[in-house]
């Protein structure tokens, strides 16, 4: 029997989610239509609303419903510091430390040459415009310590250096409370290479 075309369309649409293949998409579609129609309606409404209202903050590039997000608009943050992170989840982690009172810039990705993601795709010109506003004293590059994160950090540091903006990179090494015995050798090797004088 041929399944109705709007069902097919829903299944096909669900496949755009990361990690969802044809089977999971089918399972989700049947669940939404058969078991949880209210949930399906909420999902549809939520998606439509978010798509319509959410945009990128003009200052930090994070998701927001305003032109400038609350954090950037608040006068209580130190506008001379800018912390550059890859994703909103990274921003949340830095915020949780309560150790940083400056502002942020969210790249929404990282440079990954083999995936065709370069400075142009990340719109790094926007970050540069943001960083040269005159108030800024230092940019803290807090991209991940993966190869992609490091490539991004290298690119950013060169970009800022050429424009005379002071930049720094967050430190890496053993975690707080970390024991050598239980740490992976890559981390220990790098911690030895990047040791600092006391």
């Amino acid at each position: 029997m041929q399944s109705p075309s709007s069902l097919d369309e829903l299944i096909e649409a669900l496949r755009c989610l990361p990690g969802v293949g044809p089977r999971s998409a089918q399972r989700m579609a049947y669940h939404l239509l058969q078991r949880d129609q209210a949930g399906a309606a909420r999902l549809a409404k939520g998606l439509a609303q978010a798509l319509e209202r959410i945009r990128h903050c003009a200052r930090c590039n994070n998701f927001t419903e305003q032109e400038v997000c609350e954090r950037c608009a608040s006068g209580r943050r130190d506008a001379s510091l800018l912390c550059v992170v890859e994703m909103p989840a990274d921003l949340n982690m830095v915020e949780q430390t309560h150790a940083y009172g400056g502002l942020y810039y969210v790249l929404m990705g990282r440079i990954s040459p083999l995936d065709g993601i370069g400075p142009r795709e990340l719109r790094l010109d926007r970050l540069l415009a943001r960083a040269t506003d005159g108030v800024l004293r230092e940019v803290i590059i807090a991209t991940n310590f993966t190869n992609e994160g490091e490539a991004t950090a290298h690119y950013l540091s060169e970009m800022f250096r050429s424009r005379g903006v002071k930049s720094s990179r967050i430190a890496r090494g053993l975690p707080v409370g970390g024991e050598l015995e239980h740490t992976d050798s890559g981390t220990i090797a790098q911690a030895l290479l990047e040791r600092r004088p006391l």
């Binding site: 990690g19 440079i111 040459p113 142009r120 190869n147 490091e150 970009m159 992976d184 890559g186 790098q190």
Partner: protein
């Protein structure tokens, strides 16, 4: 192999060339192994927050890996960090991506090239130690072309096999080889005999040889890469354009 027969490999020296997310928590890892060539492997659960594979499956680091299974994508059984090499940084890191992109684009899967593997490992090692990348890249490109069967004789001309003279001027014709430059169209880049002989002897130390070998390798590689340019080269260019 990539066929139906089951495979079990252990303790194989390898590098990660590239990874793609796969299903909810897994990765497809494009590896370059010493004795089996480029092998795609599924690393189950490698994207879980506490996965032991997370810090290990990093490009440019010498690994010892094991896998099993049949078909095109086999299953990663284990991966260990061999150590002894600092992480690539800065410009060397972007050059590393260039090497990886060349291998992903040009090296067929399941085609062993131990010589190329050793050249790759050596190039990374030297770049990690802080040596200037340009001569290392040119030598690797030359080895790559040779290993893939696209190697050119640089110290002799194609017709008649006349030896290249240091003082002479030559062109390199694609799919054929070195020819004296007289009577060749103007748009063909000219190479000095001295530079060709130095390249043949793997000596990329002088700036002139370095510049000419870059032109030559780019010409040969773009011929084999086809129309689609290299992303890593584009990113590198954008960086230099700052």
């Amino acid at each position: 192999m990539a066929g139906g027969e089951r495979q079990r490999v252990d303790g194989e020296p390898a590098f990660v060339l590239h990874t793609h997310p796969f299903r909810e928590t897994s990765l497809i890892v494009e590896t370059f192994s010493r004795n089996h060539g480029r092998v795609p492997l599924a690393a189950r659960g490698a994207r879980r927050p506490r996965s032991a594979l997370r810090g290990v499956l990093m490009a440019f680091q010498p690994l010892s890996i094991g896998w099993f299974g049949k078909g095109e994508v086999r299953t990663l059984a284990k991966a260990e960090w061999m150590g002894g090499q600092p992480l690539l940084q800065g410009e060397a890191l972007l050059c590393g991506y260039y090497l990886n992109e060349l291998l992903v684009r040009l090296l067929p899967r399941d085609d062993p090239h131990p010589g190329l593997f050793d050249a790759y490992a050596d190039t990374l090692q030297r770049m990690a130690a802080g040596l200037a990348p340009a001569p290392l890249l040119r030598r690797f490109e030359k080895t790559l072309l040779q290993e893939l069967g696209y190697g050119l004789t640089l110290d002799r001309c194609v017709d008649g096999g006349e030896a290249v003279a240091a003082a002479g001027e030559y062109v390199v014709v694609l799919e054929r080889g070195v020819m004296p430059s007289q009577g060749q169209p103007d748009e063909q880049p000219r190479f000095s005999g001295k530079a060709l002989l130095a390249m043949a002897g793997d000596d990329f130390s002088s700036p002139e040889v370095l510049a000419q070998s870059k032109t030559l390798m780019r010409m040969l590689l773009s011929h084999h890469l086809g129309d689609q340019g290299l992303e890593s080269r584009r990113v590198f260019k954008e960086l230099q354009g700052l």
